[in-house]
Subunit: 333 residues, 2 copies
Amino acid sequence: MALRVNRRVTLAARPVGFPQESDFALEEADVPAPGAGEVLVRARCVSVDPYQRGRMSTARSYARGLEIGDVITAQAVGEVMESNDSRYEPGDLAVGQLGWQDYAVARGGALRKLPPGLEPQLALHVLGATGLTAYFGMLDVAKPDPGDTVVVSGAAGAVGSVAGQIARIMGCRTVGIAGGTDKLADLLDLYRFDEAVDYKTGDVRAAVRDVCPEGVDVYFDNVGGRVSTAVHALLNVGARIAICGQVSQYNLERIEPTFHPGLLIVFRARMQGFLVSDYAARFGEAIPRLARWVTNGDIRYREHVTAGLENAPRAFIGMLNGENRGKALVKVM
Amino acid sequence: MALRVNRRVTLAARPVGFPQESDFALEEADVPAPGAGEVLVRARCVSVDPYQRGRMSTARSYARGLEIGDVITAQAVGEVMESNDSRYEPGDLAVGQLGWQDYAVARGGALRKLPPGLEPQLALHVLGATGLTAYFGMLDVAKPDPGDTVVVSGAAGAVGSVAGQIARIMGCRTVGIAGGTDKLADLLDLYRFDEAVDYKTGDVRAAVRDVCPEGVDVYFDNVGGRVSTAVHALLNVGARIAICGQVSQYNLERIEPTFHPGLLIVFRARMQGFLVSDYAARFGEAIPRLARWVTNGDIRYREHVTAGLENAPRAFIGMLNGENRGKALVKVM
């Protein structure tokens, strides 16, 4: 049996502005023992996601923030080592909010067992939180009609790439916005957006206008800030804006207002925020559908894998810098 | 027969910031002759409304702006003098977008005949554009549930007062925000809001929090700016924000972003703009319902009447300054 030490990546200091590696600590602890109804899981792969930045701040948000010394919140897939829940037995693969650590205990009801046949780490993206976020954000909040022009910001990211592909499946004309040559190539060649805009070069508003000659019916927004301002100028009457994330704002010490609500009168438009966790009761409807689209090639993905739990902070900082190409994951074992 | 000179209030100059009387001109012209299918109407009462400010600017909006020399856009009620439309005959009372002038011609289809029995000028507010705006904005956009806490800004205004009363009819707890002692008294005594907040005194956010101990489920927003920022901080999960107007912004030369869309994620909230004109096909459903509520006393109103067409600019400026108490109207004859 492996040496049972639990390595944990914890919050050493609250990031001021952009996070630094010194904001994190790698600690060693005893492997926890599962109590009644609990399961011990050994992580194989942990996730790296923009929302984690929010948990490191004290600002009011939809979830409680981390305290100094807490293990960083993260989804992980792993193998059940011990189980006090009759639904799990050693050797099962499961996904849950297990944090950046080698071992975690969780109540069985807080885990989801992985079906056999698909790669386990897909439960951290296309068949997990990011895929479900794209699914409900696009189909339940944005509700595109066939033929709509659908613009997605952060389109090469884990949520945006799936959101765009779902709109494509629904018969929409899709426009992706991302930064840099590699990501632009992925938008067109891998995720098959109809048009791609590089927000890092030139006049974003002019570029979006060029590829949206009939305006924008749906905007699936992951980034906020000036990219979104450019898209807002091109809305059609009746436009729908799904607010999924505002990653351009996450590292500002003081969030700046970026939007004038009067615009919603001009375009009789709807802007709506959502959280995937509110749709938990409907995950069972969405996951098989997403799995079918992955299996038949309608949804494609790319993974950006960093080896070693100790490198999770670096992977996280790189993702916030837009250095990853594909879903950022950290392989633990 | 009266001397047939048509007095018209026209746009003399585009207001820079807050409008001044010198931005308007009183001109005399010949009374126009109705063409085929047209009706000549002599105004009895013209309306004064915040949206008119938008028509005086060149900024992109939902309707084309005025050119210098154009008659100021306004709803008016008046008496049919001549008719080339078989649906109208001299002596009928009608309402339409007739402008600030003594006489106007309009196509019969662009007018609405007034039913007998109710005071004609009600068609300029509770049974007209402002009442319909409140009706569809509250019932179709905000959609309050019984027991919801519904906050209305600009609550003593023509739209806000009806919006609050409709929410009250629907069984909601209503909170009105307005400025000054007289308006606050109207909110509580005339319009029967459950609570009233004076935005001109003290800390608005604290005042709203005090009267919304269970948060805000619906916000019907007529004003934008800092008042709205105070309300946004108190939203409940699932809140709905109807954007009806943003009058705090109308006289700014450069509209300032006032809202951070990420807030909609935190509260899984929906913010939606609307225009009453989009509901024209359903006016026939709403007007009898509003008339019933007026007749049975469920909807109360106050009118602020200025005498003389020549005083319309002053009435308009006073309304933008919040000097009116009740619906601003100008009696022409």
